[in-house]
């Protein structure tokens, strides 16, 4: 690597490249903050502009946009309870309650610092651990993917803030929503009821907007809290305060970032899965579990550090194996191929200068993200800091334009309204969106894993052994069991402690 440091320095000290890096980071933050506008879409829109750029410059611009976009999603998640990108789902759990209790600046600063630290850890992993981590993802076959999805689904036990039964039912509904359209292995169309737009399946972003925006709008209207507004006010000393709080929790940030990196390496699982798994781990390891979901900065830090670390992780299989770990990585693969560069095992030998330039630019972008995030989140936050009676139509408007812009399809807008109204009704009955969305995200991964495992198992004449006895599968199954048992055991222990205390009081009386 040392041989390439002069090349790296030369490219990164070029004012044009630095300007592009800063510009793409800011653009990414803005795009990420707009609900419905995904990082993938922004990268795809940037792709044509990179044709005329040198390969390193185009990769720098795309990397900046990817990192900025991944962070930007947290701004709207915190201020209007609407994840700007799917990766910011878990940020809404505590970010919005923080904002509602007047701690929006604290929440944003926590998100900026955690995103930056997570991103830097992801970049370091990308830089130094690429060969080691890529060998880990090679050990994953269809049964492991199935168990990874099951591990994700087992988090319903943690995410079910009310009834676990309703959480499980919600998870099933999400899994079923994920099966609409053409079967990934069988190839037949399911649950389309003769409607052509359903054949391609439900667009995840449209469903996310529907579940997180429309019910929120209706909840605000029905609760008559139209005068309420999220006040984004800069407070003195918050950066120092949150920084000292976060560095006192090094394991929280490290654990979340490692989760983000590992999830990123596994192709198919994105930032949304990383943030949810990390959030779940933060709840399980926290001494103050009750604070989660009510405005805990640890929840925001766990989600944001994981989803930004996932960016680095998702690029590991792309650079080392030629397999994009996430949709934005696939667009970046396209950008490389446009310049005649084929990502894969030979990339480090044939284009080492380019790869190391990109890796160092990636690291620099995450450092810059902290500075730019602290500075630009304010103006963006102030744009969103408007009266609720003005904000409601703006949310409806952005949701609609976001739902439409994903596929330029008007049917998606209709779908968003129908699903959104249904989601509101479900939330009134007590079915919260998180388990449903979790099912929808993990369903396709689980289905492909299950069906492929059955096919391979049948070919080998032992489906059961193929499914249940592979070492990585066994580890994942144990983790699943622990993930389900931990919140149940915690609940049981708390109820015992509660009854013990009541009994003690009665005896004292």
């Amino acid at each position: 690597m040392n041989d390439y440091i002069p090349v790296v320095f030369e490219v990164l000290s070029d004012p044009l490249n630095l300007l592009l890096l800063v510009g793409s980071l800011i653009a990414g933050i803005v795009v990420g903050a707009l609900p419905g506008l995904t990082v993938t879409m922004a990268l795809a829109l940037l792709l044509p502009f990179t044709f005329s750029m040198p390969a390193d410059t185009s990769l720098i611009a795309m990397g900046g946009l990817y990192i900025g976009g991944m962070f930007g999603g947290c701004i709207s998640a915190i201020l209007i309870n609407t994840p700007g990108t799917p990766s910011a789902i878990a940020t809404t759990f505590d970010g919005y309650p923080m904002a509602r209790s007047g701690k929006s600046h604290q929440a944003i600063v926590t998100a900026v610092l955690a995103s930056g630290i997570g991103g830097i850890i992801g970049a370091l992993a990308l830089l130094f651990l690429t060969p080691v981590l890529s060998s880990l993802s090679l050990a994953f076959g269809p049964p492991e993917y199935f168990w990874v999805a099951m591990l994700g689904l087992s988090m319903i036990a943690t995410l079910s803030s009310g009834s676990m039964l309703k959480g499980l039912i919600g998870g099933c509904l999400g899994l079923l929503l994920g099966t609409i359209g053409i079967a990934p292995i069988g190839g037949e169309s399911r649950f389309t009821f003769g409607l052509a737009p359903l054949v391609a399946g439900l667009e995840l972003t449209v469903v996310l907007i529907a579940f997180f925006c429309i019910p929120e709008v209706l909840r605000i209207v029905e609760n008559r809290v139209l005068g309420e507004r999220i006040v984004y006010r800069r407070e003195k000393g918050v950066v120092r305060q949150m920084w000292s709080r976060l560095i006192r929790r090094p394991f929280l940030l490290l654990r979340s970032s490692i989760i983000g990196v590992i999830v990123g390496i596994i192709p198919g699982a994105g930032g949304n899965v990383a943030s949810i798994i990390s959030y779940d781990a933060a709840v399980k390891f926290s001494k103050d579990k009750q604070a989660f979901g009510k405005g805990s900065y640890e929840g925001v830090a766990a989600s944001e550090s994981a989803n930004n670390a996932e960016v680095g992780g998702s690029l590991v299989p792309l650079l080392s194996l030629g397999i994009p770990g996430a949709p934005p990585a696939a667009i970046m693969m396209g950008a490389l191929m446009i310049h005649g560069i084929t990502p894969g095992p030979g990339l480090f030998t044939s284009q080492a200068g380019l790869v190391y330039t990109f890796l160092w630019a990636f690291l620099l972008a995450n450092v810059l993200l902290i500075v730019l995030g602290l500075y630009f989140s304010g103006p963006i936050g102030r744009i969103i800091n408007i009266r609720m009676d003005v904000l409601i139509p703006v949310i409806i408007f952005l949701s609609t334009i976001g739902a439409f812009a994903i596929r330029n399809n008007f049917t998606d807008v209709v779908m968003m309204v129908i699903i959104g109204l249904g989601a509101y009704l479900l939330s009134k009955i007590g079915f919260h969106p998180a388990p449903i969305v979790l099912g929808l995200i993990l369903g396709p991964i689980a289905e492909v894993g299950l069906t492929q495992s059955i096919l391979i198992g049948q070919a080998k004449d032992h489906v059961f052994a193929f499914f249940f006895t592979r070492p990585v599968s066994v580890v994942l199954m144990v983790l699943c069991a622990l993930s389900i048992a931990a919140p149940l055991a915690d609940k049981w222990l708390r109820s015992r402690r509660g009854s013990g205390q009541r009994q003690g009081k009665e005896e004292a009386e």
């Binding site: 009676d389 409806i396 807008v413």
Partner: protein, 151 residues
């Protein structure tokens, strides 16, 4: 205590969904049917448990308790009408009308004063116009023009 409460009705609806899933997957090949069928069966089993719990321990709170039904219906209808209006008159006009309508209706009586109405109109035009230009000309998203305008 009412036997037919929101949870009991929901449990029956979920049971019906699981039956539909089972019937819909009956004619499919094994690889297309296996996953949704298992989920459907699981949903059916969970719905039965939900039904039993709902009958044994019915929820005391009604579905619409503490809800301003009129305002809720108006907002839901407004969102649906906005979708229809986009199809009819295109994105820009529909968005301006929706924003103006929502701001002036949700803001209460005070928002119907001439100055506030003017303010609402300005916000509607500026916000809709800004995002229309941003998406149509910067992000090159072909926003719907509406059937009234030949699209």
């Amino acid at each position: 205590m009412r036997l037919l409460n929101k949870d009991v009705i929901s449990a029956f609806v979920l049971l019906a969904v699981s039956v539909v899933v089972y019937l819909e997957t009956a004619g499919l090949n094994e690889m297309s049917a296996v996953f949704p069928r298992y989920i459907g069966l699981l949903l059916g089993a969970l719905s039965v448990i939900y039904l039993v719990f709902s009958l044994l321990k019915p929820s005391a709170k009604g579905l619409w308790e503490g809800t301003n039904k009129g305002r809720l219906a108006a907002a839901a209808a407004g969102i649906a009408a906005y979708t229809g209006l986009i199809w009819l008159s295109g994105f820009l006009i529909a968005s301006i009308l929706m924003m103006f309508g929502f701001i002036s209706l949700l803001g209460g009586r005070e928002s119907r004063r001439p100055l506030r109405l003017l303010q609402a109109g300005a916000i509607a035009i500026l916000v809709s116009g800004f995002f229309f230009v941003l998406f149509k000309y910067v992000f090159i998203v072909p926003l719907p023009a509406g059937i009234l305008f030949g699209a």
